[in-house]
Structures are given as C-alpha cells and as structure tokens.
C-alpha cells in the first residue's frame, strides 16, 4: 500500500496530469490522421521527453500510445480509411454504419469498446504482469509460427461471400511483405536491382494507398449526380445498455484476445483486432450481419486493439522486451530516464510500476472524454463537401506515407497501392485480407525458418510442443467449423 500511495503521489502532480491530457489528445489526433500512427506519434514526442521529468515523460508517451490506437477507429468509421493498421478491421463495419448516417453511434460504440478494452488490459497488467511475462516465455519461434498460421484463418473469415477473392488478396499481402531483406539469410528478394526496394514495402504507406487513396479514386470515378444525400448525424451517441447487454460476452472475449496477444512480444494490435473480429464472425450474436454495419464488428476490433496497450507493457516492464515498435521506442525513453525495465523494476521501483498503472487508467478515461468531444468535430468532416474532403485526404495521406521512414519510395508505394486498391475494389476484392497477409507474412515466414533451425530441420518436432499442437488443432477446428454448421443446418431442414 505504501508503494501505491507513492505511485499516486507521482501521478498527482500538475506536470503529470497535464502530460496525460496532452498526450492523449495528441495520440487521438495522430491516430485519426491516416499514415501518422502510433510509432510516428511516439517518435514525434520523443525529443521532448528527454528534457522532461520521468513521470510526466511516461505519461505523455502512454497517452500518445493509447490515444493513437483508439484514434485510428475514427477515420476508419468516417472516411473508410483506418488511421492506423490496428483499426483496419474497424472499417469493415464502422464505415457501413457511417454510410447509413450513424457515424455518431459508430463512434460511440468504438469509443466505449476502446475504453473498456484499454481498462481491461490495465487490469491484466496489474493482476498478472509477472505471471503473464513468464508465460510469454513459453512462446518460442515455433509457437509464433503456429499462432501466425492460426491468425491467417481470419482471411477466410473476413472474406465470406468472396472467398476465392479474399484468399487471393491475402496471398498478395503475404507476398508483398517478402520484398526486401530476407531476414534469415540476409539476401535480397524481389528488389529488381533497385537499391530503394531493399527497404521493402512498408505497411503504412501501403495501407494509406490501399484505403485512403483508393477511396478518393473510387469517389472520383462515381458520378456525383446520382448520389443520394445522406443526413449525417453529427456528434457522439452512446448506445444504451440494453444494446450492450447481449454483446457483453463478445466484449469480454475480445478484451481477452487482445490482452493475450498484446502480452506476446512481437505481435501487435493489428493482429489481435483481426483475430477478435474473426472470432466475432464465428460466434457473435449478430454474426450473420457482420460486415454490413453491425456494432459487433466494431466492438470486437476496437476492444481487442486497445486491450493490447496495457498488456504490451507486460513484457516491456517485466522482461525489458518491447511488445511492439511503439513500446520499443518507449523502452528507449525509459532507459534515457535511467529506468531499467526487467524483473528488478518490480522489486526496486514498485512505486514507478504503480505510477504506470495509474497513468494508464487515467489515460483511458481521458481518451473517452477526448473521443466524445472530438466526435463533434470529426463527424462534421462528413458534411464537408466531398471534393474538399477528398483533397484533404490526399494531402494527409501523402504526408503520412512519407513521414514513416522518410523514404521517397514510400510515396511511390502509396500511389501504386492506391491504384491497385482501386482496381481490387472495383473487381470486388476485399482489402482487409491483404492487410492481414502483410501483417502476418514476416512473422509466419521468419518464425517457421527460425523454428526449423531450432529443431535442426525437423517439422515433426513442432508437433511435440503442447502449445503449438493445441494451436494447430484449434486452426483445424476453425477450418472445419463452417462445414459442421452447414451439415447441421442441412440436417435440421431435412
């Protein structure tokens, strides 16, 4: 209890409280802007944190982190462009809702789900950080491979109705991520002798092009006369509890998926939101309506991606291993402030650990307020005349695409992805599987090859590992599930 009050003392200072608020607002803003994601947000504030005290610096970074993961959902809903890769699954149902004129409600669902997901993961961090960190050490390259394969099923689940096109899009995504350095041999692949291509195709410019630019092209290609004007409600509307009640189990399950994936170093919010969405597609109360503007999809994606934030701090704080690129930057900043994460942190600096817990709780609450107030502004974007809005989207997309690594090739990537996305969408290909493929490609390939090095080339040895075997069985069951359901429904009819 002593450490707790000490932690509270750290947080209840003016600089810390101001940092929480500013960090969260900034985070939501970079999250909303396509291309500018969590990593850029953290990088932008990094130089400031050097000259700040430890606790305010932490507060600022955690605010940006959590805020940005949530902020991506707003642009996914409003302009069908996930502000960050983590929100790609949110667009699947968020945008159709906005098209019906319910953007205010969609943002309400997303904000509520994000806040609950975030708070849930803080709870996980508080209760089980050391245990969960120890458990994550059961995941070697071999288990990561099995998890990656399991996550690939999402492709099948999010492309129901256009299965072959979805699988093809997923294949394209898997392939695109192989361009550049082969991390196991150091060789270059598919660079066609171009030095710039050795850096590979970066996910963020690709997403900016696929979603934002292709959306602009699509709208430009449609005749403006025939379009019916939709009365967009501006502002922020929270769904009543009666709407929540049947979806509580879905919410809890998505939070658990997010927190679990977040605690594994090297997997992130994008993977978790797709897995949660995929699970919703299998078992949510309104699974048949998923993809048509059904809140279940928003809940699954948003609670799962924000549930990553707290639990990604588990390996970061307890082992000194960053859970994703964002926590990697944070870890760097901890070190600048003379704080060495690792098991010792929990014995020697428990007050700081408590301060982190409290900051995270505060950030998630502030995030809710920022979302509710910000929605007034963001939903008004829908009333901006379309040519103006689309021009703004193009400018923001280009800035975002270039900003990630300062590599001019990324601009070319964004443009080609824009044209490619336009063609794919016109031909009825779903884009989400492409993103899933890009996100999972390196994880699956590298971990398979590392795993084979570990077992000295024996794939059979993979099956001797309990976690891997369970994941393989789960994968097989998920694949057979639709067949079983189909057989059952046929029996009933008969």
């Amino acid at each position: 209890m002593d450490f707790f009050s000490l932690g509270l003392e750290h947080v209840l200072t003016m600089p810390a409280l101001i940092s929480i608020v500013i960090g969260t607002i900034l985070g939501v803003a970079v999250g909303v802007l396509p291309g500018l994601g969590s990593v850029i947000g953290i990088t932008m504030i990094l130089p400031f944190t050097f000259s700040m005290e430890q606790i305010p610096a932490l507060a600022l970074m955690l605010g940006v982190y959590c805020g940005s993961v949530y902020g991506g959902s707003i642009s996914a809903i409003v302009i069908n462009t996930p502000g960050t890769p983590q929100a790609a699954a949110t667009a699947l149902d968020g945008f159709p809702m906005a098209q019906r004129g319910e953007a205010d409600l969609a943002i309400g669902w997303a904000t509520m789900a994000s806040t609950i997901g975030g708070l849930f993961s803080v709870g996980v961090l508080i209760i089980a950080a050391p245990q969960l960190a120890a458990f994550s050490l059961n995941f070697t390259a071999i288990e990561y491979f099995a998890l990656g394969v399991f996550a690939l099923i999402c492709i099948a689940n999010v492309s129901r109705g256009a299965m072959s096109k979805g699988l093809l899009a997923g294949g394209i995504g898997l392939f695109l991520a192989t361009v550049g350095v082969d991390h196991v041999t150091g060789d270059m692949r598919f660079t066609f002798g171009s030095f710039e291509m050795t850096a590979g195709i970066s996910l963020i410019p690709a997403i900016v092009g696929l979603f934002a630019l292709s959306e602009v092209f699509i709208r430009a290609s449609e005749s403006t006369q025939v379009k019916t004007v939709i009365a967009h409600k501006v502002g922020f509307r929270l769904p009543p509890f009666s709407e929540w009640r049947p979806r509580l189990w879905l919410l809890l399950k998505s939070c658990m998926i997010g927190s679990f994936i977040g605690a594994l170093p090297g997997t992130g919010a994008a993977t978790s939101s797709f897995i949660a969405y995929s699970e919703a597609k299998r078992s949510a109360p309104n699974r048949d309506k998923l993809g048509t503007g059904e809140p279940d999809g928003i809940i699954a994606s948003e609670s799962a991606n924000n549930a990553v934030t707290g639990s990604a701090m588990v390996p970061t704080l307890a082992l000194g291993i960053p859970g994703d690129p964002v926590t990697a930057v944070m870890l760097g900043s901890f070190i600048v402030h003379g704080l060495a994460p690792g098991p010792r942190l929990f014995t020697e600096h428990l007050d700081l650990v408590y301060a982190v817990f409290l900051i995270l709780i505060a950030v998630n609450l502030v995030m809710f307020v920022v979302g509710a107030l910000g929605a007034q502004l963001f939903t008004r974007a829908l009333r901006i005349p379309e040519p103006l809005l689309m021009t703004m989207v193009v400018v923001i997309a280009i800035v975002g695409a270039y900003g990630v690594r300062g590599n001019p090739l990324d601009l070319v990537t964004a443009f080609i992805a824009g044209v490619g996305g336009f063609i794919l969408r016109k031909a009825g290909f779903p884009l989400a599987p492409l993103v899933i493929g890009m996100v999972l490609s390196q994880m699956i390939e590298n971990s398979l090859r590392q795993g084979l090095l570990l077992t000295r080339g024996s794939f059979l040895a993979f099956f001797e590992r309990p976690i891997t075997l369970s994941l393989f069985i789960l994968t097989a069951m998920m694949l057979i599930w639709p067949v079983i359901r189909w057989l059952r429904s046929r029996k009933k009819e008969a």
């Binding site: 270059m188 944070m330 600048v336 570990l454």
Partner: protein, 317 residues
C-alpha cells in the same frame, strides 16, 4: 534567440549572398543528422543526447531524422547522396559502414564520406542467461567443441557485428555453433530468455540494463573495459578478440573544410558536455571521441577486418 538568428541568417543567405557567404559562416541554418535506424534504438538515443549539446556548440539547431530500412543502408545512402554542404550529415554505425558493403552491392562505400568524428564506441560482450551452466568462455568453448553445432548462437541480423563476432569466435577457437538469425535485438533477447538460444553478443549498455537476467562470459575487447573493470575479456581468457559497436558522424564527400572543422569541434564539445558524459556513465559506456582523420583510418581498418571475416565464413557475396 538562436532560432531568430538562424532564420535571419537563412533569409540573408536566401536573398542573394549566395553559397559563398553561407560557407564562410557555417552554420547558417539547422543541421540535420540522419539516423539510419528507427527512433528509440541505441543509435537514435545516443544521437539525440548528443544533438542538444552539439547544437549549443554550433549555435544552430540540430534536427535528428530517422531514415530506417535494410539494415541501416538506406539512411547511409541518403547521407552519401545528400548535398555536400555540411547541413546534412549522418550518424552511421559500424554495420552499414563496414559489414553491409561486403554483403551486397550498395550505392556507397567508406570512400563516399567525409569523416567528422567517432561519437561512441561500446564494448560488446558475449552474454548468456543468468542461470546458464557456463561460467567462463573456456567452459562454453569446451562444451561447444565436444558437441559441435549443438549450442545456438542468436544473431540480431545476418552480417551484423554480433554475427561477425560469433564467426570470429568460431574461427579463433575451432568451436562450432548453430547461428539463428532474429530480426533485431529485442527478439534475440526474447529468444535467449525463452531458451531458444544459448548466447548472443550485445553491447555494454544492454548488459548494464539487464544485469539481473543476463551475464557476460567475456567482453569482446583487447583490454579490460574502463567502465567495467570487473568483467574478464575474451583476450584475458586466451582468445584475442575486439568487436566494439561504434558509430560516428560522417558527411557526404567534399563538404567545405570550414563546415567540417566546425562540426568536428561541435562534436568534441558535445561529447565532453555534462549532459552527454553523465548519460553515458549511467550506461557504463565509455566516452570515445575520435577526430575526423583518426576516425577515417579506423573505419578503413574495421572495413578490412570485417571483409576478411565475412569472406572466411563464406557470407560475403
């Protein structure tokens, strides 16, 4: 005030005094340092800590720009290709400078740069888990020789210094390891904690921060490290090795002599500043300033050493 001065000087330059006037009064606008890795990593943090005191010494703003990709070669190439006026320089570490050019065709080589200063040189260490059965380098090597290829040696990237050091250790001792490449230092560290790998090479600040989870079998230096006198070196244990993880400021070839001198001086002042030395001290990193000419000769010798090791190991293309 500095900003106003800089802006004013920049305007004067822009209105027509031209490049000659600018060169006489270096720096007349902010200096950009390209870091070829992402923000928050070791190279980035060292650069950012140095940027503050350097800016003060220069009397101009110093902006840090991260150009990440392909093992640091994208940022190194950007530095080599930048306008040779001294306003764009790079903090280029050992990997992109002396190992990557041996692995594939790159649009730059050590001769593409003017050398300003060495900014850091961290001793590296061969680390094992705290509960590893091996107490000394000798223990580990004896086991590795009896069981060839059984020990897993993790590397952060193919052809990186930790990898080259492992190749050097294998060739010097006659032991055999199975090298397993991960993607970066965090996954490599994770692989060590989850039991996948038995050892890897890290630099001293990593060892300092994670001393409750890992320990050093041998510092890979020719002499005891000043900031870690208690840790035995590989050289002490009969295997002479020296694999520092260093980095320094370089500019595109052909910058004005005045700009080079100003940058070198600012680098020295910055590295001797309280802010920089205190931070390095916390991480047990020795402060290792080296002037431009000495640094250039050092880079060339490292380039040749790594060439030899990569060729012997059959990794060089």
């Amino acid at each position: 005030m500095t900003i106003i001065k800089t802006v004013f000087a920049g305007l004067v330059g822009a209105v027509g005094l031209g490049a000659a006037a600018l060169a006489q009064d270096f720096p007349a606008k902010p200096v950009t340092i390209i870091v070829p890795f992402s923000a928050g990593g070791g190279t980035d943090i060292t650069t950012r800590i140095l940027a503050g005191p350097m800016a003060e010494a220069l009397g101009a703003e110093v902006v840090v720009k991260n150009t990440d990709g392909a093992g640091g070669t994208i940022g190194a190439a950007e530095t080599a290709r930048a306008k040779a006026d001294g306003y764009t320089i790079g903090m280029i570490p050992v990997g992109p400078m002396t190992t990557q050019p041996h692995l594939r065709q790159l649009p730059y080589e050590p001769a593409s740069f003017d050398y300003i200063c060495q900014a850091y040189s961290a001793p590296s260490a061969l680390v094992v888990r705290q509960d590893s059965p091996f107490e000394t380098l000798g223990d580990m090597l004896a086991y590795a020789k009896e069981n060839p290829g059984e020990l897993n040696y993790g590397v952060q990237a193919v052809g990186s210094i930790p990898h080259v050091a492992g190749l050097g250790l294998a060739s010097a001792s006659g032991a055999e390891f199975t090298f397993i490449p991960y993607k970066g230092s965090a996954p490599t560290f994770k692989a060590m904690l989850d039991g996948s790998i038995d050892m890897f090479v890290a630099h001293i600040s990593f060892l300092t921060q994670n001393s409750d989870q890992v320990r050093s079998l041998a510092m890979l230096t020719s002499e005891r490290v000043l900031t870690a006198e208690d840790l035995p070196t590989a050289t002490d244990q009969g295997i002479p090795m020296n694999f520092p993880i260093w980095g320094g400021l370089v500019a595109p070839k052909g910058i004005p002599a005045e700009a080079k001198a100003a940058l070198e001086r600012a680098c020295e002042v910055g590295m001797n500043s309280e802010a920089f030395t205190a931070r390095m001290g916390e991480l047990r990193m020795p402060v290792a300033f080296m002037g431009g000419d000495a640094f250039e000769a050092f880079v060339q010798s490292e380039f040749d050493k790594n060439d030899k090791l990569l060729t012997e190991a059959g990794i060089k293309q």
